[in-house]
Amino acid sequence: MKATRDWFGDGLVDVAAKHENVVVVNCDLASATKTSKFKEAYPDRFFEVGIAEANGIGVAAGMAQDGFRPFVASFGHFLTGKFLEIFQSVGLNDSGVVLVGTHAGLAIGKDGPTQMGLRDLALMRTLHNVEVLQPADGVETRKMLEHVVSHDRPTYLRLCRQPQREVHDEDYRFQFGHPDVVRPGEDVVIFTMGGMVPVVLDAVDVLADTGLRPTVVNASSLPMDHEATNELLGAYRHVLVFEDHFVKGGLIDEVGRIVLDLDRHLRFHAWGVDDYGQAASPEELYERYELDATGVANRIRVATSAASADSDRGKDTQR
């Protein structure tokens, strides 16, 4: 069990050995974002800008324009808070910066909503040339890092604080935008990403004796490939989305758009965080927002049984 931010810290040192253009721009959070290992290994390629994310983003954009592949790491909430700077210096300039937003979702716990990355996806999804990535485990973090250093497009890498178990084996092949089926099933398909992937898998295990066998998709890179997702959706009647993010603007909207474009009736239910969040332990928070295994299992059960009781209403959407 290890957090994706830790896998990132290790993996970054590995890819930097092969890719000399990889540099880090740090905003006084090297220990929390795990770029401290890079700092030790490559002190000459580590640039500390201090608690000045807007400047850090701009400096990284300039370095990217001159051929480097800079990783700017901070809490996702702080980094994407500088959205005007990201829009212009990174997006519009098409600067090959990798924005690394850690502490995604509620998991920062007791520090509360001023530190929680709960609306970062909503912002980053609006920039059409930015790749948004959130790995589900160590294997995927490493594969994603290899992908990230293989090109020079603007990138947002969303990472989690909480330790997670591995859901992929070593021969997993990361394909950008492609829906990654981590649990094949039938009738119901659940899309989720990052720290929610093992939670949803646990919830599906809880439901095993009810006869429900949902398919679980790790939607770890956005924008999703519409064609591949449409093809996948063909086999299902219910589409569910769970995410550790505000209900607006994130994965729910990404999947919802694809479902709306389909010329077919599908039942769509989605859940995320529907207020600003609050301070409490991560366990209490995930329970309160029903984004722990028990909450997710209940929601799957209720959504699918309500749907079968009222099967002719066509598309219905919660939130």
Partner: protein
Amino acid sequence: MTASTTYLDSPPADTHPNLVDDEFELPYRLAQIGQLANDVRAHLLKMIHLAGSGHVGSSLSCADLISVLKFDQMDASGRDVFVLSKGHAAPAWYAALMVAGELDPEEIGTLRRIDSRLQGHPDRKRLDLVSVSTGALGQGLSVAIGRAQARRMRNDDSSVYCLVGDGELQEGQMWEAITYAGARGLANVVLLVDYNRSQNDGTLEEIVPLHPLPEKFRSFHWHVQEVNGHSQLAIRDAINNARENWMQPSVIIAHTRKGYLGPGEVLLNGSHSGVLTPEVYEDAVGYLERTTV
């Protein structure tokens, strides 16, 4: 081109080499830059006139700064970088590119037109003669610092020039960048402040004054020079001095007039958002023609 050209037998105007200061050559060189700066003013006025909108005063106030950089100080092979952080002065940069022969004057009527390379604010994805896309104020210096840092890592001794407006210095990110460059001693950064003392809603004095600006920069460990931003000689000397300083980033605080056309001639009384009516335009063009040899 001019009588002095024949007399001095100087290099042709379309190559803009960095000249070694020479008591014999300098007066010619300055006269030449002055003429080119007038050409820049004429081009940018025509561009804005044809577009029907654009920041006349802000483009004119930095025309001399841009002309000295482009025609005299920037490396002719294109190694140096110029970041126009005050992106609303884009017409001044496009005009300089046209006068330098790098941009087709045929494009002069395309400013702010659909699908044009000459966007209202500079866009590097549409025009590769723009190094950094700007527009929302306060961001250019950070990007310039990144470019400078990248060059330093490669032992590349080229310079990165960044032009900001004075009102732009009210943006917080500017001071993040100023703090950082000063702390790191990024000497290959040269910042030019177009200190025209006027912004959208009034004068800086009325909105939020910046003085004492030199002291502010000094306390952030910058090398500071103050110049008359319409004296090509003063600008030229200051840029040379800035490059000579290898310990600190340099700022050139250039005192300018919004709408400056020439000595004693200020368009629209220095207004930020004055409209370039056909009459005002014709008068200005007439003035520039009279002062061009």
